[in-house]
């Protein structure tokens, strides 16, 4: 079922949690709402669910398909909702938790107890927890509890599934596993899903499209590839991965900051450049376009690459560079080594204000 949000705004007391927001979600899409805490992503999700009411405004509309649900109560919106901390009914067994939605249906819509049983067992099978049907939530691990809560949310066959930081409280390995499993479930059952996360990796890996939010505003809506390739503004760029910052004075096409220099075809004056760790190469000598001397402060092999931490007087924050293993051993990198960083490419956003249109990301 498609979801359309028009002019959604929300204040809590005097503080604005969400500035007027529009969003269109296609039928069967898996959407990630990504942002730091306080960005309004959870508020937006809860408004879609009906757990929170948007500020009253005649232009505010929430549509599920053709159905206007703006003034429809949560219980009648027929959504599935998964809470960050599972919110399982602690006094009910796993079976009763999953059966809850079916057992509170009005009598004429309620399936027979035999049918409820079959459906619950099928759901438990789907989340691979049939053997724990009689356990209580407190006896389950976090990952198991979250699977129960998913099965519970799916019991009424909702066409919209909303998940509030569903994997936030789980450890990395379980999270990875559940992510893949949710993607699979989504593709198989074909519902429309919206999930909230503050983890860019999770958003990029799981979503069809990512909605990046900050300060109660949508910064960019795009597919993970497009988002990573061309961030709309500096906030999105910085939020999507590690960033190294070079700030200095530009004169005659050269940016200077202390003893660091980099050729940069930018307007004269104070400018900031951003570089991803993989856009930095390390060498023993400077080249004609950059002179960025630094000292290695840490060398950490992580998987396919080596993360090198650099420091220098001209940096405000230490830089991170990721280099290939061969290169690292070729340069014999160790703590205290003197190296020169070379910028393979860099990015520049004209003003710190996030609302300004993006400029081209320059590269040479």
């Amino acid at each position: 079922m498609s979801i359309r949000l028009e002019h959604i705004e929300k204040h809590f007391g005097r503080s604005q949690a969400l500035s007027p927001t529009d969003l269109d979600i296609a039928n069967g899409e898996l959407i990630g709402l990504l942002g730091p805490s306080g960005s309004g992503k959870t508020t937006l999700l809860r408004i879609i669910a009906g757990l929170e009411t948007p500020d009253a405004n005649p232009r505010t509309r929430i549509l599920f398909g053709e159905r206007d649900v703006t003034r429809v109560h949560v219980r009648d919106r027929r959504i599935g909702f998964v809470f960050q901390h599972y919110a399982l009914f602690r006094h009910m067994s796993v079976f009763d938790n999953v059966a809850f939605g079916l057992t509170v249906l009005p009598r004429r819509e309620r399936p027979s107890s035999g049918e409820i049983r079959t459906r619950v067992l099928r759901l438990l099978e789907m989340v691979q927890l049939s053997h724990l049907a009689n356990r209580y939530p407190a006896q389950l691990s976090g990952g198991q509890q979250q699977r129960v809560s998913l099965a519970r949310a799916l019991a009424l066959k909702p066409e919209v599934l909303l998940l509030d930081e569903p994997f936030g409280a789980l450890d990395a390995k379980v999270r990875q596993e559940l992510r893949r499993w949710l993607r699979h479930l989504h593709d198989e059952l074909g519902f429309t899903s919206v999930f909230v996360t503050h983890d860019q990796e999770e958003a990029l890996e799981l979503s069809d499209r990512v909605v990046v939010m900050s300060n109660g505003r949508i910064e960019q809506i795009d597919t993970p590839e497009a988002l990573y390739r061309s961030p709309a503004n500096r906030f999105v760029f910085e939020f999507l991965g590690d960033v190294n910052l070079l700030e200095g004075e530009v004169r005659d096409g050269v940016l200077t900051c202390g003893d660091a220099q980099l050729k940069a075809d930018l307007p004269e004056g104070r400018q900031e450049l951003l570089l991803r760790p993989h856009e930095i190469e390390l060498a023993t000598t400077p080249d004609e376009s950059s002179h960025l001397p630094a000292t290695v402060t840490a060398v950490v092999p992580v998987g396919a690459e080596v993360r090198v931490e650099l420091s220098a007087d001209w940096m405000n924050e230490p830089w991170l560079a990721s280099v290939r293993h061969e290169q690292a051993s070729q340069l014999t990198l160790a703590r205290g080594s003197r190296v020169y960083a070379r910028a393979l490419t860099w990015h520049h956003y004209p003003a710190p204000s996030a609302s300004v249109q993006p400029s081209l990301a320059a590269s040479y």
Partner: protein, 275 residues
């Protein structure tokens, strides 16, 4: 390694002091009540307890408690629900108002009711012209008892419901649960032990309340005399054995309450341990 202050002599001194004080101030008076009640033999005790006026006092006390509990149960749950599940202007003020009956001396509470609802009072005058008498009758006793005990249930529930939060209820609502179903199947099971505990405390106080009741009751024997008032009346009549027989009954109710409370705590403990 030895903990600080954990020497043999400190331990012995502290334990002796605790046991000594507990015996002197708690256990001894309780034993004295029963000793006095049975001082003239078991037959006197029985005849004192089965005395017409004593039986009437027992009956009135139990009726008052039986009426107070459901009123406070409903009131307490609604208040706790309101305060912990909704945010509205004046919520904090309401939370403070709940404690008024704790802060006010029961005698003062009784006097206020007398001034308001007595024959010469603001409301009482109007009621009197319609032939309704609240003061110096059982409705008055009920009213002040409800006033004095009304914080108990809410005070037990509010911290618990605050700690549990409303996530489970939200989950139930997203699954389509409606008002009373939601309360019966999700809220109530989570608060039932605290609720029962609140009821036990309410009962103990309703049975034992003296100050407020004595102001509004008029202590008419066989009509508006509750058990605690009866104890005092008998004592003033120099019927010491009779007074202590009734006091023993009150003490028994108290002991029963304590046992019920201990049982509840014992039952609730393992659940809390694994949740």
């Amino acid at each position: 390694m030895q903990r600080i202050g954990d020497t043999r002599w400190v331990r012995i001194t502290l334990i002796t002091a605790a046991v000594g004080l507990a015996s002197l101030f708690l256990l001894l008076p309780l034993l004295a009540i029963f000793a006095q009640a049975f001082a003239a033999g078991i037959n006197t005790f029985v005849s004192n307890v089965t005395d017409h006026f004593t039986l009437a006092a027992i009956g009135l006390t139990l009726v008052i408690a039986a009426l107070t509990i459901p009123v406070n149960l409903v009131f307490g749950v609604m208040l706790a629900w309101l305060v912990t599940r909704f945010s509205f202007p004046g919520r904090r003020l309401l939370q403070t108002l709940i404690d008024i009956p704790f802060a006010i001396s029961p005698v003062v509470a009784g006097l206020i009711y007398l001034l308001l609802y007595g024959r010469n009072g603001w409301v009482g005058g109007w009621l009197d012209s319609h032939d309704i008498q609240l003061m110096f009758a059982w409705p008055g006793i009920l009213m002040v008892t409800i006033f004095v005990t009304c914080p108990f249930v809410a005070r037990e529930l509010i911290p618990l419901m605050q700690a549990q939060g409303s996530r489970e209820e939200e989950a139930a609502v997203t699954l389509g649960a409606r008002g009373f179903t939601l309360f019966r199947r999700v809220t109530l099971p989570n608060i039932r032990w605290a609720l029962l505990y609140g009821v036990i405390l309410t009962n103990a106080r309703a049975v034992g309340e003296f100050g407020a009741v004595s102001v509004v009751s008029g202590a008419i024997r066989g009509e508006t005399n509750t058990l605690p008032l009866h104890v005092e009346l008998l004592y003033q009549d120099y019927n010491t054995v009779g007074a202590f027989a009734s006091a023993a009954l009150l003490a028994l109710i108290a002991l029963f309450t304590l046992a019920a409370k201990a049982l509840l705590e014992w039952r609730a403990a393992p659940r809390e341990a694994h949740s």
